[in-house]
C-alpha cells in the first residue's frame, strides 16, 4: 500500500484524463521538458508529445485565450499558470471572455486553469497569492480548491471533464506535505460543488478550504483534547459553486461558526459565506459568525512577518474558544 502525495495525485489525475480522452491537452510555460517548476506535468511531454503538452511563450493572455478558442471547437485544454498569481495577467481573458462565453454567445468553453497558489512557503508577495476572491463575482466560472490528495485527484479529473471553465487552485504548501493511500484500481472522480465534512462535530463549525483545512483539523483536535469541544470541519472543496446546503446544515447543527481562509480578510471569500449564513441560518446562530484570515497586507517575505500575517492554528483555536465561550 503506497501513499500518494497531493502533487502526484494531481499529476495522476491529469495523466489519466490525457490517456482516456485525446481531446485533453496541456498548455503553459515550461510544462514540457521541465515538467513545470513543481514537476506537476513531469514526463507528460515525453508520453503525449509536444503537440499535446505545449510550451508557450510567457503570455498568460495567449495561454487562456488560445485554450478558449480550442475549447470552443471541442478540445479540453488544461492551462498551467506557473504561479497562480500570474492569472492576474489574464484577468480580462478569463473573466470577460471565457466565463461569459456560454451565457452571452452559447459557446462551450470547457477548460481548466490550474496552478500553485498559497503561502507558508516564503514566496513573498507574488508567489503566495490566493486569488479566489477576485473571481468570486464571475458567473460562469467554477473555482475548485482541494485540500487532500484524494480530492486533488478526483477534482482535477472532474474539472477536466466539466463542461465549463474551472479555475483549479492547487496549494503549493500541500504539494509534498500531504499524502494518502489512494487505493488502486478504482477510479477517483469527485463531483464539483459538494463540500466534505473533514471532521464531524456538534459544538462548533469551521468552514474552510485548501491548506487551511489541515490547520482547522489540528485546531479541532486540540480543542477536543484540551477543551472537550466537538468541532466540525467543513472542507468546501469548491467556492463556485458554493455548497450552501452543506454550510447551512452544519451551522444549523452547531449554531456557532468560524470561517477561515488564507487570503486577506477584507474582500476575502469569507464575506460571501458569512452573508449566506446570515441569510439562511440567522436564527440558528448563538454567536456572531467569525472570520479568521490573513491580515490586510501584501504577503511579506521574511518568516517572522509571513507567519504573523497568515492565519495559524493558534488563531483558529483562540477564535473557536471565543465562540464557544460566547
Amino acid at each position: 500500500m503506497t501513499e500518494t502525495t497531493y502533487l502526484e495525485a494531481i499529476r495522476q489525475g491529469i495523466w489519466e484524463e490525457m490517456e482516456r480522452d485525446d481531446r485533453v491537452f496541456l498548455i503553459g510555460e515550461d510544462i514540457g521538458a521541465l515538467g513545470g517548476p513543481f514537476r506537476v506535468t513531469e514526463g507528460m511531454q515525453a508520453r503525449f508529445g509536444a503537440e499535446r503538452v505545449i510550451d508557450t511563450p510567457i503570455s498568460e493572455q495567449a495561454i487562456v485565450g488560445a485554450a478558449a478558442g480550442a475549447a470552443h471547437m471541442g478540445l479540453r485544454p488544461v492551462c498551467e499558470m506557473q504561479f497562480i498569481d500570474f492569472i492576474a495577467c489574464a484577468y480580462d481573458m478569463l473573466t470577460n471572455y471565457v466565463a461569459t462565453a456560454r451565457y452571452r454567445a452559447g459557446l462551450r468553453t470547457p477548460l481548466v486553469v490550474r496552478g500553485p497558489s498559497g503561502g507558508y512557503v516564503r514566496g513573498g508577495p507574488f508567489h503566495s497569492q490566493n486569488p479566489e476572491a477576485a473571481f468570486l463575482h464571475t458567473p460562469g466560472l467554477k473555482i475548485v480548491c482541494p485540500a487532500s490528495a484524494r480530492d486533488a485527484k478526483g477534482l482535477i479529473k472532474a474539472a477536466i471533464r466539466d463542461e465549463d471553465p474551472v479555475l483549479f487552485l492547487e496549494h503549493k504548501y500541500l504539494y509534498r506535505r500531504v499524502r494518502e493511500d489512494l487505493g488502486d484500481g478504482e477510479e477517483i472522480l469527485t463531483p464539483i460543488g459538494q463540500a466534505r465534512v473533514a471532521r464531524s462535530g456538534t459544538d462548533l463549525t469551521i468552514v474552510t478550504w485548501s491548506a487551511m483545512v489541515w490547520k482547522a483539523l489540528e485546531a479541532a483536535e486540540r480543542l477536543a483534547v484540551e477543551d472537550g469541544l466537538s468541532v466540525e470541519v467543513l472542507d468546501l472543496r469548491s467556492l463556485l459553486p458554493l455548497d450552501e446546503a452543506a454550510i447551512v446544515a452544519s451551522v444549523r447543527k452547531t449554531s456557532r461558526v468560524l470561517v477561515a481562509h488564507e487570503d486577506t480578510r477584507t474582500g476575502g471569500a469569507a464575506g460571501e459565506i458569512l452573508a449566506r449564513i446570515n441569510e439562511l441560518a440567522f436564527e440558528w446562530l448563538d454567536a456572531p459568525a467569525r472570520r479568521v484570515a490573513a491580515h490586510d497586507v501584501p504577503l511579506p517575505y521574511a518568516p517572522t512577518l509571513e507567519d504573523f500575517v497568515l492565519p495559524q492554528t493558534d488563531d483558529l483555536v483562540a477564535a473557536c474558544r471565543w465562540l464557544a465561550r460566547y
Binding site: 505545449i54 478558449a68 471572455y97 452571452r104 452559447g106 458567473p139 463542461e163 446546503a245 444549523r252 436564527e283
Partner: protein, 353 residues
Amino acid sequence: MTSPQRVTPPPAGLTGAQLLDLYYWMRLTRSLEERLVSLHRQGKVVGGLFRSLGQEGDSVGSAYALEPGDILSPLIRNLGSMLVKGATPLEVLRQYMAKAASPTAGRELNIHFNDLERGFLGQVSPLGAMVPVMAGIALYFRMTRQPRVGLVYVGDGAMSTGAFHEGINFAAVQRLPLVVVCENNGYAYSTPARLQTAAERLVDKAPGYGIAGVRADGNDVVATYEVTREAVRRAREGGGVTLVELMTYRRKGHAEHDDQRYVPPGEIEAWERNDPIDRHLARLRSEGWATEPDIAAVDARVTRELDEALAQCLDEPFPDASTALAGVSADPPAAPVEWYRQLAEPPSRRAAQ
C-alpha cells in the same frame, strides 16, 4: 454608362460572376447599415451603432478569400465579413434591436454573435482578445490535421493591446494557420494612427514576429481579396501566420453619436472620392465584367432582401425577462440562489423546533 465591346479577362482568378458577387456583398453591407441608421434615428436600435462606410471593400474582399470551413472573427466594423461568411441581415437587425429571436436572444449587441459552423466567431468588446482566441481555433485545426484556416481582424488601435501581441506571437511561434488582418482605417476612435504607433507602417511589425507581412489598398476589393487569398493559401499549406495590413479610412464617426470634431477638414471628402463600391462599380463597367442589368439586378436583390428581413423582425418582441437567468453554465445552479429576491419567509428555527 459606357458598355464597351472589349472585355478584359477578370483579375485574380475571379470569374465575372464572382466580381459581381463582391459588388453584391459590399452593397448589401452598405444598405444594411443605412437601414440601421434610420432604425437608430427611430430609437429602434437599443445600443450604439457602428458604421463601416468606406470600409466595405476590405471586409468583403478579405472574407471572400476564405473557404467553407474556415473561421473568421470580426471587429465591430466587419459587418461585411460576417455577411460573406453567412450571417444574415435578419440576424444582424435582430441583434441591434435586441430581439428575442436574435442569435444571442437579446443578450449581446450588434455583431457580437457567432456560428462556428458557418464560420464566424463574434468578438467581445475588450480589444485584442480575439487574437489569442483565434490562435486557439487555428491550433485546433492544426492538432486535428484539418486544412482549415482562421482569420482575425484587428484595428490600427487594437494592435497596441497586450492581447494582440501575445496572441500573434504565440501563433507565429506555433506556425498556426492564422491570418491577421489589420484594418488600418486611420483612426482608433479619435486617435490618429501616429499616436497609436511610431512605426512607418503597421505591417512593419511582421518581421518582429518572424511572420510574413503584406500591405494592400483596402478600398480595392479585388486587391484585398488577392493578398488575403495568398495569405490564406500560405496558412493552409503550413506556412504559418501572415499579417495583412489593409489601408482604408473610417468615413463616419466611431459610433453614430461621434461628431468627428477631431478630423482635419477635407480629409473625409478626399476619401469619399476613393469609395470602394464606386471604384469596383467603375471597373465592372469599364472592363465590361458586368452589364447595367446585372448591376441593377443586384441592387434590386439587396433592396428586396433587406425589405423582407426588416418586415420580418421589426415588430418582434424583446426577450422575456424569464429567460434572463438560464445558461450561465451547463449544469443548473446548485442552490436556489434566487430566494433572496423572492420574499418567501426565510427558513425559521422556531418553525423547525
